[in-house]
Amino acid sequence: MMNVWTLFIPELYCLLMAVVFFGLAMSARPNPRRDYFAALFMAGVGVVVALACVRLEGTLFFEAYRVDLFSQVFKVMLAMGFFLVVCLCTELNGIEERHHPEFYLFLTTCTLAMMMLVSSVELLTIYVALELSSYSLYILVPLRRGHGVDVEAGIKYLMVGACASAVMLFGLSYVFGVTHTTYLVEIIHVLPGVIGTPAAIVGLLLVLCGFFFKLAVFPFHFWAPDVYQGAANQVTAYIATASKVAAVAIIMRVVALSGGSSKYLVDMLVTLSIASMTLGNLVAIVQKDMKRLLAYSSISHAGYVLIGILSMSATGYASAIFYALAYLVMNLCCFLVVVKVSHDGSDLKIAQLAGLHRRAPLLAMALMLAVFGLAGIPPTIGFTGKFLVFAAAMEKGYVALVIIAMINATISLYYYILVVKAAYLMEPDEELPRLPVSIPTKVLTVALVTAMVVFGVAPSYLLEVARAAARMLM
């Protein structure tokens, strides 16, 4: 009985964190410093806990919950994403001080829910965990200090999300009706027999809709720009990184169900992938707001990740896992700069980056590397990720898809270069003071940059882990 609960330690730890923040939320006096340090400390320990549990294996709760390398790797990524987002909260000016404990509480419950999400292998548990993570985010968005924009973004997010989850639920009812089980393990056995029937395909696609909403893939993408812009910067950082990682994990689990035997599903995924990439890249070009630009870039990146997933091979899944990790690091680095440059918590226009190389050379360098990584330029982790994804697709013979993706990557270079140009070549209208960059921020920036470059040049260790994790899916 004892070892059953050891398997559950990362989640239990998150639960403990949630309870602590709940206690802090009850206290009468707002104290942002105390909240911040409590969050930082506990999130840091959370990463250690998740790392310590990475080798555990087993099943829990009537086989509804599987702990294996795949889930544990994603849990480490989620814990890291959570920790790094908390690191960005030194000046949490976008949110009223007395609501800081609630902010951390929602972040924690969201992380908890996504940890459960990546471990669940049963439809009901998946659905409920997904909803818990969604609702935490729905409330985080309008938590921003009064702009008027936040409410609008919150409403759009909630409405689109509720529709997507209802669509997904209807798909689940089809899947259950066809396969008479809710366990993914058994669905894998039953589904190949019925995958030819339209009901199974339609059901699976409708189910995927709910996850595509989380990942902001093409038909469900339109919440992303508004929510990215409307939410507080730190919340946006969390939505853009951790929640995307969890979505990638669960999409992989569901797509792996089909066993690669369905032509329709692959065709559909190819279409969606191309649509997301193209749309995201083309619209990103005209954006003026940094967070909106990152939103459209995230839509196009969702397309790239889908390429890895739709290959439906161990290599493909491994490349998608690697890409998710790369995306997490690069995007967090971008948001680090966004948060630090607009330290009063307001939105950041791209033009406001002007002169950054003199105001804060380190941040400018980090931004350049992160943006080059997002564009897929060689010495960074982003290039390695794209390369792996494309290689996996080539292996399966999707040449046209890879060519389109490469053209897209070239288009995306244009607007990424615009950002770098703003930071390095443009001068601000009036002279702005140097940005104060504290020592911990410097350490964090250097660590992120090092990770981007080192794992870009020598990805073999991470790739091994990703491969081992992907094998768990097959």
């Binding site: 709760f61 009537f62 509804a64 818990l132 609702y135 409330i139």
Partner: protein, 175 residues
């Protein structure tokens, strides 16, 4: 056709008509009343399909609490029928086309699937068995749901308090 079949078709007709009326009324209060009918019908279908506990809960939660909350909000915000613009063709058309395509696909899906021709046999989930099944098999989900409701509670309170502060409705909030 058995008597149960007849009951099903009657109920389905009532639900579809009531829902159809509900989504086309311009007066929101009328919509809610039609929806309550629709949910009552759904509760009877749950009963017919052997889920008496769910039938009761559907009435208690959906018809009793959710719809009343909607009514409450509509009255509170004073949404007058005239305040609602009549939807133009431009707005109806895409939704209508979407719905029609969906229905066509659904009918295609259903008619081409050999398994779906199964005639349903009546059966019953006794509430006791249902409760045991829920708490033995799915208790993790139950605990997750408790957290979900907690989050909803905290969020609703936050938004409600913000509402008071924005409007300064009756009392000064501490800040």
């Amino acid at each position: 056709m058995t008597v149960y079949g007849a009951v099903f078709y009657i109920l389905a007709g009532v639900i579809l008509i009531a829902t159809g009326l509900a989504i086309t009324r311009r007066n929101l209060v009328h919509s809610i009343v039609y929806l309550v009918i629709s949910f009552f019908g759904s509760a009877m279908l749950y009963y017919l399909f052997g889920a008496p506990l769910l039938a009761a809960l559907e009435i208690i939660i959906y018809a009793g609490a959710i719809m009343v909350l909607f009514l409450f909000i509509i009255m509170m915000l004073r949404v007058e029928p005239s305040a609602l613009r009549k939807p133009t063709l431009r707005q109806w058309l895409p939704a209508g086309v979407l719905g029609l395509i969906y229905v066509a696909v659904a009918i295609l899906v259903v008619t081409t699937d050999p398994g779906s021709q199964t005639i349903l046999e009546t059966a019953l989930a006794r509430p006791r068995v249902f409760g045991r099944f829920l708490f033995q098999r799915y208790w993790l989900s139950v605990e997750i749901v408790s957290f979900l409701l907690l989050i909803a509670l905290v969020g609703a309170l936050y938004l409600g308090k913000a509402f008071v502060k924005e409007g300064g409705d009756q009392k000064e909030d501490q800040s």
